[in-house]
Symmetry: C2
Subunit: 132 residues, 2 copies
């Protein structure tokens, strides 16, 4: 709540819409939704999105060019994201799993590269769609 005060007007409006959505939202669908609130141009949306991502409030689902609110930690800057995506109904869920995040956060290979950040997207069939 303290942190949310530091968000600007546009940032609040856009975060609010994303938090209320049940699925990832695309930038232009956000734009459409906020036009009644005076946000008229794509750039205004993209700028807010960029800031919200930096703050860890939202994540981008890269394979879908869409944005979801972060549900795991409230005010932390997010460096690591994992999603599960159903290939039929397209439902996207953020995965909060310690075993997974511990493994990936401590992952090292022989390249000598130090990884600070990752994005993982799993694809498969969700419970519902598996039955069909």
């Amino acid at each position: 709540m303290a942190q949310i005060q530091t968000l600007s007007k546009n940032q609040k409006i856009i975060l609010d819409i994303i938090e209320k959505a049940k699925e990832p939202l695309k930038a232009y669908s956000i734009l459409f939704n906020v036009q009644k609130k005076g946000i008229k141009a794509p750039l205004q949306v993209y700028r807010a999105l960029e800031k919200l991502i930096k703050l860890g409030k939202i994540h981008k689902v890269e394979s879908k060019n869409a944005f979801v609110a972060c549900k795991s930690s409230n005010c932390e800057v997010s460096k690591a994201t994992a999603f599960s995506i159903c290939e039929i109904c397209e439902k996207v869920t953020e995965i909060a799993n310690n075993k997974l995040s511990n493994f990936l956060n401590s992952f090292e290979d022989k390249s000598g590269m130090k990884y600070k950040k990752y994005n993982l997207e799993f694809f498969g069939l969700c419970k519902k769609c598996k039955k069909t």
Copy 2:
């Protein structure tokens, strides 16, 4: 080599360019490169890319909207990809690491979802850029 014969003319041309490139290529830069070979429209490129991805010959690096040749297995359909991406020089490397792939291929969470496929992108600083 046997497999490559089943590729169509456009598919071969485009795979060839991607294989020779040292970094991931964007669709429109591929288009520019193949115009002398008679491929004139974006769709011709995107169609070939789509097929090559299905065959596992190339992968899409989602965070960069760019395409790289698969270096790990030669003729397998690829369901699982992992890349390391340097945040400074933007170098992209496909990660071939059994520990990682075993872990991810067998990953299950409580959602009841069965994962057939994943895409992982690590971000950090490569050896060279770390020194700077």
